[in-house]
Symmetry: none
Subunit: 192 residues, 4 copies
């Protein structure tokens, strides 16, 4: 039986290889070698190279949604919820640096190729953000003149850029400090 275990192993290997070389520069044989399977084995689990990339998003972003979603439920205050989300996202990206790079680089490629995709799994992730904004607006904590979709896009863009920048200059700043700065800028602004 084709094991779910091997499926995961290949996804994991692909995430690493795609992060290091980029999707287009990565060879199937690189992924196979990293996963310690034969080239042909990959095609027992995936239709083609691109399907592997889509599955990376599907599976890894799915796990993100579940994990972060659960932790956010415990918090009801919108302001604290947003601060928590920022913290969790950066934490997860730090833990899974390969995924961070694949999201940062390949997700954008992919979005172009599969216009609908981003509107599926990844959109679900982005909607965690907009729902926090909406909640805050409903409870009067956040300004009601801000468009949740714009804020969502803005926050994701900021976080994504930071998550890569952060890993590149990782020793300088603690994750708490960066999270705090981002939340501060977003919530109370830059003004003195």
């Amino acid at each position: 039986m084709k094991s779910a275990d091997k499926h995961r192993k290949i996804i994991r290997a692909a995430t690493k290889v795609f992060a290091k070389k980029g999707f287009f520069n990565a060879r199937i044989s690189d992924v196979a070698k990293e996963a310690k399977v034969a080239d042909g084995t990959i095609y027992l689990y995936f239709n083609n190279k691109f399907d592997i990339l889509l599955s990376v998003f599907e599976q890894e972003v799915g796990k993100l949604i579940e994990h972060i979603g659960q932790l956010l439920e415990k918090e009801s205050d919108p302001q604290k919820k947003l601060t928590l989300f920022v913290m969790l996202h950066l934490e997860e990206m730090k833990k899974n640096r390969y995924l961070a790079e694949v999201i940062h680089v390949e997700l954008r490629q992919t979005s172009k190729l599969v216009k609908e995709y981003r509107k599926n799994k990844f959109n679900e992730y982005l909607n965690i953000i907009s729902s926090i904004i909406t909640l805050g607006q409903e409870t009067g904590v956040f300004r009601s003149d801000i468009r949740p979709e714009i804020a969502r896009q803005l926050i994701f863009g900021a976080l994504d850029e930071i998550s890569i920048f952060y890993t590149e200059v990782s020793s300088q700043y603690s994750i708490e400090e960066i999270s705090s700065q981002i939340s501060n800028i977003m919530q109370t602004g830059l003004l003195a």
Copy 2:
């Protein structure tokens, strides 16, 4: 000059083709056809395919820096400077949608491949942002506990994500409204 003219023509064509198909899916012959030159001609002006992409950044981002830099000089108030930068960036990205897409998608690929690159021409662009922050901190307008590099990255990430999102849902919001929302969030925060 004839030569510089053709150089620009190829850059322009490449920007369009790379934006539409992505760097890896674009063929040299696509660029050649778009620029209305023979395939071989391209190699009289560029060393290889990747060199074209680097030149796109070099030239187009160079023009951005010059253009936006000049306009920013006329403004001395840091707060207004930042608001103006946000506005100008979005405006330019709207005018040159192909460049916006290439920056959004290919710049990230490229950054990985040429680690030093971003520290050159594009870094110069990003530093426009951090210098505004620093100026604001020096004049006491902006909080001094914000790291200019973090703010820079955050602002670019937000703007870049919005500039693509904006063009996808372009009819809904005016550029002024979006600019205003971004500046608001950044400067006075989300809080009511």
Copy 3:
């Protein structure tokens, strides 16, 4: 016996699959599925893919030789014998259309690859024809200036081409009419 039974089942399946897709386009897994066995099982009965094709000829042509040989024995007149052979060959090819196609298409491929092969089992079949010619010459019914080997090849070529053509336009002509026309041309000629 269980084993010989499965051997036959695979041959039968292979004949059908090879006829439909052609030997090179057919996959072992196609044959396995058609025979309702696992891919690996096939290798318990055959050495490799090509061996299956050879076995198709070996077994199916063997059955032909036996069947047609027996019926021909009952007839002693060379002229009637030849007429009967034409009829029987077309009849068998009509009954087993898959075999007809495999002989028509794959036998020729195979003959090239295994030069000696045709001189074995299939040659035996062809020699049924030449022996009828020789008999006819000995009894003075057929002209003695005809080379039996040439006549043999000519008759097989004609029959084989007709047997495929026949199935493609099957509704138009009855098998008796076609047999009669062929025997007529061969024996009394086209002349009025």
Copy 4:
């Protein structure tokens, strides 16, 4: 400019390679090497491997039709016309043995794959035969109870089989003798 000369050179090479190894066993690089061009060059002239095979038929059979057609025009007697056709076909197949093998083996594969194909260029060739039969029937030389399409198929099958058999045992019989025997069987029959 893509030269017609190189197109022909590749066709010629492919005919030889396909004849020797068979279409499926032949590699594009074999054809390229035989034609003394690079692998990629082949794709400047043909869409894919199969397209080369179709072009072989298209071009070589086209030449056959033209050549044989011209010579047949000079003869008006149906009986002599048929005898001449048999002779010319065998002569051409002897001259271009590679084509003979490709027709003998690959045409049958191909007919299966491209049902309509045979009804185009090759059908035109086969119709030379049936038109001779029809002519003979109209002038009362040939029996009117013979179906031209059946006779056509029969004659082609016979000739094709003989043309391969002939080259395999070439030293034994002269082409005139074989032609004469075939024409004899076809026209005056086997009967003494």
